[in-house]
């Protein structure tokens, strides 16, 4: 099996497990819906133009739902010693990293795809635009890249569910900031050329986080 096949096997395993239990999708979807409702109520009364708060609300929701997903993804592996089995498999540790990363990326993206229409309805804005979808995807890549590394770290700590957001949020803040900036620009109807710098920051973070996480995952995977 070559590198790509091994990665895809791990991804397939995660997708298969999820399709059979449907635990993560259902819980994350309900959680995200609740967040949308709470945000809608807490802003509606005071903000004149909802479009001003939508970029922030969107990314806070994605970040919270994404953190839940990351926690779930590795907590699942901790049961019955699945993680040890995974690490014992005769393959490079980076395969595990990319496998889990892609799995997380897929799950978070699916959840986001389910949430976007709801957002569009609740906030009366068309959020399903190609440029916006690309931005969301880029932000999610950065989130999943560091998130996979840090969740592998967090499962080994004592208060693991609390530890992941504490570790992840400050590190991921630059990605969130640039993603919010681009999202706001798109919603304001600015041409993409005006946002090129923020997009560059977003892509730069994606690449750096991917490379750094890939290089350091070996040390985390030692257990």
């Amino acid at each position: 099996m070559n590198f790509l096949n091994k990665v895809l096997t791990i991804v397939w395993k995660d997708v298969m497990a999820e399709l059979r239990t449907k635990e993560m999708f259902s819980s994350m979807l309900v959680f995200a819906l609740l967040l949308i409702v709470i945000f809608n109520f807490s802003f509606e009364l005071r903000v004149d133009k909802v479009a001003q708060v939508v970029p922030g609300v969107l990314w806070v929701t994605f970040a919270f739902a994404g953190t839940l997903e990351l926690n779930r993804s590795l907590a699942l592996e901790m049961e019955n010693g699945c993680l040890e089995g995974l690490f014992l498999a005769p393959m490079d540790r980076s395969v595990i990293y990319f496998g889990k990363m892609l799995g997380n990326l897929i799950f978070i993206s699916v959840i986001e795809a389910l949430m976007l229409p709801i957002f569009s309805v609740v906030f009366e804005l068309n959020l399903i635009q190609p440029s916006l979808l690309i931005t969301i995807f880029l932000g999610t890549v950065g989130f999943a890249a560091v998130g996979t590394l840090l969740s592998a770290m967090a499962v080994n700590t004592r208060a693991r569910e609390v530890m992941l957001p504490v570790l992840l949020f400050p590190i991921i803040l630059p990605v969130v900031i640039s993603a919010v900036k681009v999202t706001a620009g798109i919603l304001d109807g600015l041409p993409l050329g005006d946002l090129a710098q923020w997009l560059r920051v977003l892509i730069g973070f994606d690449i750096i986080f991917l490379v750094v996480s890939y290089m350091t995952f070996d040390y985390v995977a030692e257990g």
Binding site: V146, L149, L150, M153, N156, T157, R158, A159, M163, V166, L167, F169, P170, I171, L173, P174, I177, S178, K181, G185, Q197, W198, V201, G204, F205, I208, F209, V212, S213, T216, Y219, V220, E222, G223
Partner: protein, 221 residues
């Protein structure tokens, strides 16, 4: 008590001496700033402690890499004490900055207007999480290993955060004169009215004093 003389003692003495020299330079040698008055003298403490803080986080990155390569506990101790030094000096920079901002900008913490404050907040939060991570891990070896990884990932976000803040200005014009608080050595626009060599040498003296002091007091393994 007859204690053996250690090289760190020399650093401590040197830092004590330079500290005195820095105080002299700050309060007597450097001229009074024309527009801001005496409150500007806080710059010397503010800027130098900010730089010691940044530098300490850089040391954490370097010793994290060194730990993962060599697996010697010594490097982990350097990384941890560097985080502690960095947090102390960054907090000092924040506090002195606030004290300066109140008379100048009329607000202790105007972070909508000044993205640099967000950068500093992120930095403090990241390295507080570093300490949290260590507190919640079991086993010395694992603690050192995870902390090294986190120190590396954390530093990856710092220079880019800095860059993103520069971009911020272009999209959102800010109320305050940005140049007034940046301090590249070549341009000192706010100080053009006063003689700049004395100002930069005063600031450097503070920087060196803090640097020696913090390096001299680092714990030994």
């Amino acid at each position: 008590m007859n204690r053996r003389f250690r090289p760190e003692d020399l650093l401590n003495w040197l830092s004590g001496l330079t500290m005195v020299a820095a105080l002299y330079l700050v309060f007597l040698y450097a001229p009074r700033e024309a527009t801001m008055g005496d409150v500007q003298r806080i710059f010397y403490f503010h800027v130098s402690s900010a730089w010691v803080g940044f530098f300490a986080f850089f040391i954490t990155l370097v010793s994290g890499i060194a730990y993962l390569r060599t697996r010697r506990r010594r490097w982990d101790i350097v990384a941890l004490s560097s985080v502690e030094i960095g947090l102390t000096f960054t907090a000092m920079a924040v506090i002195t900055g606030s004290i300066w901002a109140k008379p100048t900008w009329n607000a202790w913490w105007p972070w909508q207007q000044e993205p640099r404050l967000i950068l500093v907040t992120i930095l403090l939060l990241i390295y507080l999480s570093y300490l949290m991570l260590r507190a919640f891990l079991e086993g010395e070896e694992r603690k050192a290993r995870f902390a090294a990884v986190y120190g590396i990932v954390a530093f990856a976000s710092v220079p880019l955060t800095f860059m993103s803040i520069r971009l911020w200005q272009r999209l959102h014009p800010v109320v305050f004169e940005r140049e007034a608080i940046t301090w590249p050595r070549r341009c000192w626009p706010p100080f053009s009215s006063v003689s700049s060599p004395s100002l930069s040498s005063t600031s450097h003296c503070c920087f060196i004093a803090y640097g020696w002091g913090s390096w001299g007091t680092r714990p030994k393994d």
